[in-house]
Amino acid sequence: MSEGGQATAVEFAEEEHGDALDMLDNPAERLHLAEATRMVEAIIFSSDEPVSRRALQERLPDNVDIDLVVSELSSIYEKRGVNLVRVGDAFAFRTAGDLSFLMTREAVQQRKLSRAALEVLAIVAYHQPVTRAEMEEIRGVETSKGTLDTLMEAGWVRMRGRRKTPGRPVTYGTSEVFLDHFGLAEIRDLPGLEELKGAGLLSSRMPTSFSVPTPNSDPDALADDEDPLTDIDLEELGLLTPRAQDD
């Protein structure tokens, strides 16, 4: 709300709460005004920008007194958690000023995961435990360090251990957070080849040699050719700052 520019809560100084309706003696007129108020409320609510007086006039029946309706709506919302505000010659709903603290908190911007990151994530999920070299082999392109970092930062990918092969490359796998985010009870719930085909995600004309791996159901169990990560490994990888003496 604080960002509202010159927006000011619409003030129709002399008028008090609900006065507009009370002023009308004729029940039919009251009903008419009430209906028009609902319309204006819905229009302003759903519009993606402040709605001008003229725009309201165009969309409402001819005999509607826009000023009266707006003042009525404004008084209805006057003490609510949301107020009707005037921005120049237009109207909009804004969170009440005293509640703006509710809005700013936790306003974390969500970012869309890049295509490359999605691909890497999917490969880690299906092919885990998988090394970076293996990811590259599957994808056919080099995986940038940043992509993996992003996925680890998101908490979806974790280092599992080291492959017992020369160079002892780090193996990657998915985390609990990953399962949670994607609504999977267990990693085995990832759809297999037939399911992907059935859902129309994969062409039904894949070569017969094509396969989709089924990840091990226990994500924590190390494969036969995996060593666990030690603290030393983690330090080496820069993930663990050398221990300071506690207490």
């Binding site: 709300m1 819905a42 609510f45 759903s46 519009s47 993606d48 920008e49 909009a92 709903f93 804004r94 969170t95 809005m103 700013t104 936790e106 306003a107 974390v108 911007q109 969500q110 970012r111 869309k112 995961l113 295509r115 990151a117 999605l118 691909e119 994530l121 999917a122 490969i123 999920a125 299906y126 599957i138 994808r139 056919g140 992003t150 930062e153 998101a154 908490g155 979806w156 957070v177 985010h181 994607f182 609504g183 999977l184 990832l190 759809p191 992907l196 859902a199 995600l201 994969l202 062409s203 004309r205 894949m206 070569p207 094509f210 989709v212």
Partner: protein
């Protein structure tokens, strides 16, 4: 609330392609393209066609003449074949089943008969038609509700990003799977060209058999129903060979039983009563 309003999307009126098919012979007789699949004419599969035929009887589905329905359907398939229309396998599986049903309904019930009676089979068909119709009606009710973005609207100017998700990144399972499938597909060398097939592959035959035996619990001659309806003269040999091989495979897996009373005699098949997937749970 909004159920009466006219709706532009989906299920407006039945296009009644059948009527065209029966009345406007010239259009079809003139069609030389034998690859014309009846599916394309507007039916969503054999049950849909049956439902359409059933409506022609103008009675409640419970009081419908299943025998007449089966005959109509078989006649339709016969016509289609004469017009050299290629019918999708599902239509032929249904034809085979209906031919079986018809024989059951017409023949007097034997004492030692196993499996469902003709009346029971007819009830199964009615149930399936009714269920499909119910789903179709439900779908129509659904799309005619007040829909977000068409009848009902959200806040046009959201003021804050409401973060429910702890994660900084947004991605759905669908995004993930699409990315994976797309990527694997790109890298897999897919220069495989599928030629228009003149043969039944083993997996085709298997699929068709599976669908067929799911509904047959009585001994059924492989040839008399399956092959008659499922193949054209040109593909008869390959159909027999593949179905035979596929049925052996299914016997081995314990899904099918096979019987032959004499050398070179007819082969009889029936499903082994395996418990299929349980009832769907409902919310």
């Amino acid at each position: 609330m909004g159920t009466e309003q006219t709706n532009d999307s989906a299920v407006a009126k039945d296009p009644s392609p059948m009527d065209r098919l029966w009345t406007d012979d010239t259009e079809f007789a003139g069609t030389k393209d034998s690859s014309l699949v009846v599916d394309v004419q507007g039916f969503e599969g054999p049950l849909d066609l049956l439902l359409h035929l059933a409506r022609g009887q103008k009675v409640d589905l419970t009081r419908i003449s299943v025998l007449a329905l089966a005959e109509q359907y078989l006649e339709f398939v016969e016509q289609a074949r004469q017009l050299r229309l290629e019918l999708a396998a599902d239509y032929l599986v249904m034809a085979a089943w209906l031919a079986y049903l018809k024989s059951k309904l017409l023949l007097p019930k034997q004492e030692d008969e196993e499996g469902e009676s003709g009346e029971e089979l007819a009830a199964i068909l009615q149930f399936r038609l009714k269920r499909l119709e119910a789903m179709r009606d439900a779908g129509a009710k659904l799309v005619n509700r007040n829909r977000l973005g068409r009848d009902v609207f959200t806040r046009g100017m959201p003021e804050a990003v409401m973060v429910e998700k702890r994660s900084v990144f947004s991605a759905s399972l669908y995004d993930l799977l699409t990315a994976y499938a797309g990527q694997r597909q790109r890298t897999a060398v897919t220069n495989v060209r599928i030629e228009k097939r003149a043969v039944w592959s083993l997996s085709d035959a298997r699929g068709i058999l599976m669908r067929l035996i799911g509904t047959l619990s009585d001994w059924t001659a492989l040839e008399s129903y399956l092959v008659d309806y499922l193949s054209t003269p040109e593909t008869r040999n390959t159909a027999v060979a593949s179905s035979f091989a596929a049925s052996l495979e299914l016997v081995r897996e314990g899904r099918l039983e096979m019987r032959q009373t004499e050398v070179f005699g007819a082969l009889y098949l029936r499903a082994r009563n395996t418990q299929e997937t349980g009832e769907a749970n409902h919310v």
